[in-house]
């Protein structure tokens, strides 16, 4: 299939600095993306990485400096937002404060000069889809944050856009509501089979609702892939560091290969890791140690000796900061009730769950795959 719902081809966006024409800010630096029908792709990255600008270029709120934005096979670079078949859910919801909930949802249909009966039917349907029946006549200002969020979603969905754009839609909600809404958004998106682009800086959100994630940094895509690929097989140090709760990098050297395994010397041990193509014997590597791949065992038992610097109890898990021969690593131990707990200052043993640990070539300078 060579026709994609959305395609970005080498898109660049340069902002001119307001204070002087000589300073340019490259917000998006050559981004290429392809979305198939019904796919939800998330742009994930720290603030200022260009993810929102990329989204706004698809919506038509920014014009790309160079490159192409293609919607359903048609280049739409020069189309203003109202001529594009996209609909956006804004971070601030951007509800029309002078219109009722119903009027907000009906707005896009009215602009499309639809029959009145059809507008009522479609708007009601969209409101029921997001679970807001009965609130039609309320003013947006009288709704809770979660309800406002649903109105914004219904308002975007009701025009049946080719692409749904969501710009950090959940960032103004509290944690519990956020978790609930992301499941709902994903369910609705899948039920309607609507192609969607989603912007967030929250990796948990990205992983739980995306078909694919594009991790962005400094205006570029560092890695694009399924949540599993991006999390478990980061292509470079930035992605490895950005994903996961707490990542520590340990230096290693490849000693040799054995079928699908590669033996790497780490500190004073040699450990087997899954083979990574492009890495050869003798190469310097970095071991990506995520907190959940570290196990803490009684002293004398593990691969490495260590000492607890700090212990934090979370109920469902314990987080240890451990000194491993001068390097501080974080260990996340589930089910603390089932196991021995260690106190600050105690000597322990450390095991690495090598099957879950990814290895990167050293000094990877962030090539895009």
């Amino acid at each position: 299939m060579d026709r994609y719902s959305v395609e970005l081809i080498d898109v660049v966006k340069v902002f001119r600095d307001r204070s002087g024409a000589k300073d340019h800010i490259v917000a998006v630096d050559g981004v290429s993306l392809k979305l198939i029908q019904g796919e939800l792709l998330t742009l994930l990255g720290p603030s200022g990485c260009g993810k929102t600008t990329t989204l706004r270029m698809v919506g038509g709120f920014e014009m790309p400096t160079s490159g192409k934005v293609v919607l359903d096979g048609k280049v739409i670079n020069d189309f203003p937002p109202h001529k594009r078949d996209t609909a956006m859910v804004f971070q601030s919801y951007a509800l029309f404060p002078h219109l009722t909930v119903f009027e907000n949802v009906a707005y896009g249909l009215r602009m499309r000069k639809m029959e009145k009966d059809a507008i009522v039917a479609k708007a009601r349907h969209a409101l029921s889809l997001v679970g807001l029946e009965g609130l039609e006549e309320r003013q947006p200002g009288s709704l809770s944050g979660g309800q406002q969020q649903r109105v914004a979603l219904a308002r975007a969905l009701v025009v049946e856009p080719k692409v749904l754009l969501l710009d950090e839609p959940l960032s103004n909600l509290d944690a519990r509501l956020r978790a609930q809404m992301r499941i709902e958004i994903r369910k609705i998106q899948q039920a309607l089979n609507i192609t969607s682009m989603y912007v967030t800086h929250d990796q948990e959100e990205a992983m739980s609702l995306s078909d694919r994630i594009a991790v962005m940094n400094h205006g570029r895509i560092e890695q694009i892939g399924t949540p599993q690929e991006v999390y478990a097989k980061p292509v470079n140090r930035f992605v490895a560091d950005f994903m996961g709760r707490k990542t520590t990098f340990l230096d290693g050297k490849v000693m040799g290969f054995d079928e699908n395994l590669m033996h790497v010397s780490v500190m004073d041990a040699v450990l087997p890791f899954e083979r990574v193509s492009g890495i050869n014997t003798g190469d310097d590597v970095e071991i990506v140690v995520r907190s959940e791949t570290v196990d803490i065992v009684p002293p004398g038992c593990g691969t490495f000796p260590g000492r607890i610097i700090h212990a934090a109890y979370f109920g469902s898990q314990v987080l240890y900061e451990v000194d491993l021969m001068g390097t501080t690593i974080t260990a996340e131990i589930p089910d603390p009730q089932e196991r021995e707990m260690f106190t600050q200052g105690s000597e322990v043993g450390i095991n690495l769950k090598t099957r879950s640990i990814h290895v990167l070539p050293r000094a990877n300078n962030g090539q895009i795959t």
């Binding site: 706004r56 919506g59 038509g60 709120f61 203003p80 937002p81 109202h82 594009r84 996209t86 609909a87 956006m88 804004f90 971070q91 601030s92 919801y93 951007a94 509800l95 029309f96 404060p97 002078h98 707005y107 896009g108 602009m111 499309r112 947006p140 200002g141 944050g145 406002q148 308002r155 975007a156 025009v159 710009d167 960032s171 103004n172």
Partner: protein, 562 residues
């Protein structure tokens, strides 16, 4: 109230507000009720309002105010939309020019109009060669002049309102398929309605209160502010003048209360989550071209008016001889030297008093709980809505006899300046304070500072932008004031605006123009000096720029009545 000092300050402020705001108004009301035979009653009013001829000034004032309010708001809105929503070049220049009328004496527009369109005007005589008789004396001329003088009010209010609309709301409308015009009609305009209503009412108040323009340009189109003045100074009819003042006060106060307690509550600002702050420029070429033309024409007209005054100030006799001369300035500095000196002295004394008092009142009103707090706030804001003519009449009636005999002194002028120019400072102070988390002040108290120490060390530095904008405003108003002050000036204390009026009455337009140029120069240097004091560019890096207070603090605070 645990702190005696705070209590004392509140009592002092309440007493002075009563004495210098309430009591003069009461004097006006009382005097207007003194009938010809000395008894108390409504005789003066029935005499004034019985004949249709006598009712005319009231109708004229209201009609003029309504027309100017509508035209000024339309122009102000267009100008605000062009400078906030369309990505135009020279926006800073357009804004600066639009602010000119706010910092110049009220009658400068009339002066320029006479110089351009009067019987001996440059355009009438030199360009049209007397073929067309332009009737500038009367309603037509007043509408032109007041619209130009007061549209900046609308511009400030409405650009504040337009900037406060989260741009993503308009983005959303556009995203859902609305064209530029549809976004404007269905989103931007409805959201600006409260601001438009505010602007209509504020300009209406300003036009009602205007004295400087109608006294020069009204011809036989009589308006209340001028008639009240003439009745007192020309006919020595104190009850009649007072009654006209009361009649003038009523529509002003009605408009003020409608604005303050009804319209300003209808604002749509702050409805949803965090605004994205990204401003999309409506860059459709025809919108941009149209906006640019509108801005160029409007600033062109303003510059033509000011340019006429500037050029005219160097002419021998405007309308007759257009030879270059410095004689007008010689006259201004020799004959008018005292006026300049007195004006500078009185303004320089009253400005800091106004600024500090305004901040203290703002602080007390926002942060302290006490009986009568709302009454105190309302009273302190009252002079804003009261036309200058009414205040001036009130002061001569109230302070012309023992126990408080102030006429002819510098004190009466300074007090008048302070209490007339305070409301804007209070308003911006209140707006600034409401943005400062009270816990910052609580932290100071918690660490051992008392109320006044906290105010000096914590609050005042945080609200300093409001304080300094209050200072600028106050100084500008002092130097350009005419309507109230004309009643209390004396042979001993002369003011420059009164001198301009004298020159106009003598038909020496070139001289009046030179006076106006000097006034504007004084205003601009004062603004420059205060800015230097605030930002101290000679210090490395300068003082950190504090964030401007929001709409009501920054922009609206510049709106005041003549």
């Amino acid at each position: 109230m645990q702190e005696p000092l705070v209590l004392l300050v509140i009592l002092l402020i309440a007493a002075s507000l009563f004495l210098f705001v309430i009591y003069p108004l009461y004097s006006v009301l009382k005097t207007s009720l003194i009938q010809r035979d000395g008894s108390i009653g409504l005789g003066v009013y029935s005499g004034l309002l019985a004949k249709s001829y006598n009712r005319r000034p009231l109708i004229n004032s209201i009609r003029l105010g309504a027309i100017v309010a509508v035209l000024g708001t339309i122009i102000g809105f267009i100008f605000a939309y062009c400078t906030t929503r369309v990505n135009l070049p020279f926006t800073g220049f357009f804004r600066a020019v639009a602010m000119f009328p706010m910092i110049s004496p009220p009658f400068i527009m009339s002066l320029a109009t006479i110089m351009l369109f009067g019987n001996n005007g440059f355009i009438t005589k030199k360009i049209l060669r007397g073929m067309v008789n332009l009737k500038i004396y009367g309603l037509g001329g007043l509408v032109l002049v007041e619209t130009l003088a007061y549209f900046p009010t609308a511009y400030l209010v409405l650009s504040g309102v337009l900037q406060a609309i989260d741009p993503s709301i308009e983005d959303a409308a556009c995203d859902l398929g609305a064209s530029w015009w549809q976004v404007f009609r269905t989103v931007t305009l409805p959201l600006a309605i409260p601001g438009i209503a505010s602007s209509l009412l504020l300009i209406f108040i300003e036009s009602l209160a205007d004295f400087g323009n109608p006294i020069i340009l009204s011809g036989d189109y009589q308006v209340l502010a001028v008639q009240a003045y003439l009745r007192i100074t020309g006919l020595y009819d104190l009850p009649g003048g007072a009654a006209l003042a009361v009649i003038l006060l009523v529509p002003s106060l009605v408009a003020f209360f409608v604005q303050k307690y009804w319209v300003s509550r209808k604002s749509y600002v702050t409805v949803t989550g965090k605004p994205s702050g990204q401003q999309i420029s409506r860059s459709e070429p025809w919108v941009k071209t149209a906006a640019l033309i509108v801005c160029l024409v409007l600033t062109g007209i303003i510059l033509l008016f000011y340019g006429t005054v500037l050029v005219g100030s160097f002419m021998t006799l405007w309308g007759v001889s257009y030879d270059f001369t410095l004689a007008n300035y010689r006259h201004v500095f020799v004959v008018g030297g005292e006026h300049i000196k007195d004006t500078l002295f009185l303004s320089t004394v009253s400005t800091p008093i106004t600024g500090i008092l305004a901040m203290i009142i703002a602080f007390i009103v926002v942060r302290k709980e006490f009986f009568g707090r709302q009454a105190l706030e309302l009273t302190s804001m009252l002079t804003f809505a009261v036309p200058g003519t009414v205040v001036g009449i009130g002061y001569i009636l109230a302070f012309n006899q023992p126990p408080i005999m102030l006429t002819g002194t510098a004190a009466i002028i300074i007090i008048l300046f302070v209490f007339r120019n305070m409301p804007t400072g209070i308003q911006s102070g209140i707006a600034a304070l409401q943005q400062i988390d009270p816990s910052i002040e609580e932290a100071s108290c918690d660490l051992g500072a008392d109320s006044s120490t906290t105010f000096r060390n914590i609050t005042l530095p945080l609200i300093s932008p409001a304080f300094f904008s209050g200072l600028v405003f106050s100084f500008v108003r002092c130097v350009t004031a005419i309507s109230a002050i004309i009643f209390v000036v004396s042979g001993k204390w002369k003011l420059i605006t009164v001198a301009v009026l004298g020159s106009v009455e003598n038909s020496d337009l070139a001289q009046a123009a030179a006076f106006c140029v000097v006034i504007i120069a004084m205003v601009l240097s004062a603004i420059g000096i205060i800015n230097l004091l605030v930002y101290q560019p000679w210090k490395r890096g300068g003082q950190k720029r504090l964030k401007e207070p929001t709409i009501s603090g920054g922009a609206e605070s510049w709106i005041g009545t003549a």
